[in-house]
Symmetry: C2
């Protein structure tokens, strides 16, 4: 497996385009993107578990009843959730894209992200779609068009070999606010030229979502619009993968790599984030326990605020583990803080150690920091990703709509 | 029932005192408080459900095995949680208070609040206890001594009549950070001269905790040290209440009043809080559903940040309801914002209305605001209390230890 450039346009047969349709006021930022395959794709998707589901998500789900699609139309600036005429507008977006591409509307998927509760200006979207020009060079434009309060494009692609055939898998994502497990946890679009059966693709996607996107927490809020879609057009011409085995394992490794990379980019670029915070629980009795404890640390406002201040306040780490609901013995826990600068142990057997505060501060002042809780109770481990809680998170969210 | 002054010293037979023992550096703030009854009390208590429990809590639990006690020693500035010699130090605090008061150490309860993981300076506590002077006038001093990052004392007391006898119930509390359900949710001490059986008192305390303290959320973090203790010395000389009935209902009403008042004071004075936020869910199928939805709204970082900005971003309210885990139909929900300035409806039947943004801003700019979600699905309702998420929360918690 090798990392390459090109994101969602890296795989054979995929192209993309984006324009400014006028949903956003700023004319310097594209707000409408189109991702297209030159041939029909086997598709898989995961969606938010929020009971309040945005209409584009429901329309996409309908259109994927046959596990086939060929294009995705995405807008930012408006979530089309809890909004008037939401369903009709999501359908019209698919119809307009289908007309532009000469496809059946049933083969177009739709996603939206932005403010909740405001009617989607579908006229602007319909007017803008015919002007979207598709190209293999447009990945970055497309990756930017789907962002909201994100500050960076999130792009990754890899090549891998299936039965001596080189295949490619790439993806883009948007994250930022309302980021907390329970599904795609944001918008992510993945494209591959690997030939793989849609049902198998779905199994692998669900499994990898659990250990990548569902292990990210920015603010504990699970959005109404989260989804992750994978499109596989088979244009690498490998023998189609239809069952789990050696070949699917190679594909799944690539899928894991791309999804984990996007998940970490989302965490690092959480709303107002100053640092990427990785929370790792090691030597747990089982992986579920490790994951539950790591997510609880990662989601604690007090831990996140301490990371903002580069404050080695490990008591909050133990406290967050304690209310996670997972069973563990606090009296055997060690806590370490780590970054590129070094590692420091601050707690052993559940009790505080005297430690070098200056070194701890330096370790925690880096762009990427890790909190490691070692349970000494088994051999399982899990890592989750989040970010610090900053003044800017409050600022961005104190006045998001205006 | 009538509200009166005097807090924990209001009831017959209770007195209190507080001193600066040196746990905190600032000599202008007392950090050690003692609450004493002139006769043995029937007692009840609830504790944090955090698996990581502070040692003073465990010692208090042991001392309450017989449901009897006569004094409480409390320090702020150090939680004595995950700290070396924690159990021994909590026992020594009880022993020192018992020696000063001429009591059995088993009849002294102990509580601590402050930073986790630092060894308690028990020598200073032992040295300071003999200098604590008890008086009926010391409620406010005592209420201040138990505060950490709280900005205001939390005090309330009421009188009520049991069998023509006037009884008194008063309480003090500390809240601020790490405030989220699952028990006393903070430190609260209640005293009454009403004669009431300890087992019945425990039943009423558990029931009222669920609808008062457990409906407060400041930051989603459940502390290691939370507890709420009620002491009843019977010095009002009413016929002792031993079973549920008319008299226990009068007592429970007073208990509810005192606990709800303290709960709201804790929410309003949450770390960095600018406003008290009441989240009310009405016309739900049952109270549990209403409570789950209201707590989810109240705990959402995005809702809390919107309240900081006085931004009528009701989509986040629906979003938080959607991921609460409670079953409801989003398509029948109305959302209103209210305060002393007025009420505005911003969403009906799950869809956004066009509304007067200027009026909404004015309504949400008050010190106390209410978010009302009307489900139109039944007759049950519940209110929860929280506060906005502010720059100051991040500031306080970015560098709490130093």
């Amino acid at each position: 497996m090798k990392e390459i450039q090109g994101g969602i346009c890296a795989a054979n047969g995929f192209s993309a385009g984006a324009v400014h349709s006028g949903i956003r006021k700023s004319r310097t930022k594209e707000d409408l993107a189109l991702i297209v395959s030159s041939s029909p794709c086997d598709c898989a998707a995961v969606y938010t578990r929020n009971q309040v589901k945005a209409d584009p998500l429901l329309v996409t789900k309908q259109h994927l009843a046959d596990h086939r699609a060929q294009a995705i139309i995405v807008n930012s600036g408006n979530a089309n959730a809890c909004a008037r005429n939401g369903h009709a507008h999501a359908v019209r977006a698919c119809q307009a894209a289908a007309a532009h591409l000469g496809l059946d509307p049933q083969d177009v998927l739709v996603a939206s992200t932005g403010v909740i509760g405001v009617e989607l200006p579908i006229d602007r979207i319909e007017a803008a779609i015919p002007s979207i020009q598709l190209s293999k060079e447009n990945n970055d434009l497309c990756a930017r068009a789907i962002l909201t309060t994100d500050t960076k494009e999130k792009v990754v692609a890899v090549t891998f070999t299936i039965d001596q055939t080189t295949c490619t898998l790439g993806g883009i994502a948007k994250g930022s606010g309302m980021i907390h497990p329970n599904m795609g946890t944001m918008l992510a679009f993945l494209t591959t030229d690997c030939a793989i059966d849609a049902q198998l693709l779905q199994t692998l996607l669900v499994r990898q979502t659990q250990v990548t996107f569902n292990r990210v927490s920015v603010d504990g809020d699970t959005s109404t619009n989260d989804m992750c879609i994978v499109m596989a057009n088979g244009e690498a011409h490998n023998p189609k993968i239809v069952t789990e085995g050696e070949q699917s394992a190679v594909f799944e490794e690539a899928l894991h790599y791309v999804m984990e990379a996007l998940a970490k980019m989302i965490a690092a670029d959480g709303e107002g984030a100053g640092r990427l915070m990785t929370c790792t629980v090691t030597n747990a009795a089982d992986e579920h326990t490790a994951e539950t404890l790591a997510m609880s640390i990662c989601s604690s406002s007090l831990v996140k605020a301490a990371m903002f201040g580069a404050d080695a306040n490990w008591g909050r780490v133990l406290c967050a583990m304690g209310y996670s609901g997972a069973a563990f013995d606090p009296s055997t826990v060690s806590v370490r803080f780590a970054s590129q600068v070094g590692v420091i142990t601050v707690c052993e057997q559940g009790k505080g150690l005297v430690f070098d505060e200056t070194l701890a501060k330096e370790i925690l002042s880096q762009d990427a920091v890790e909190i490691i809780a070692d349970l000494h109770q088994g051999t399982a481990q899990a890592s989750c990703w989040g970010c610090d809680l900053t003044y800017d998170y409050v600022k961005i969210n104190g006045d998001y709509r205006t």
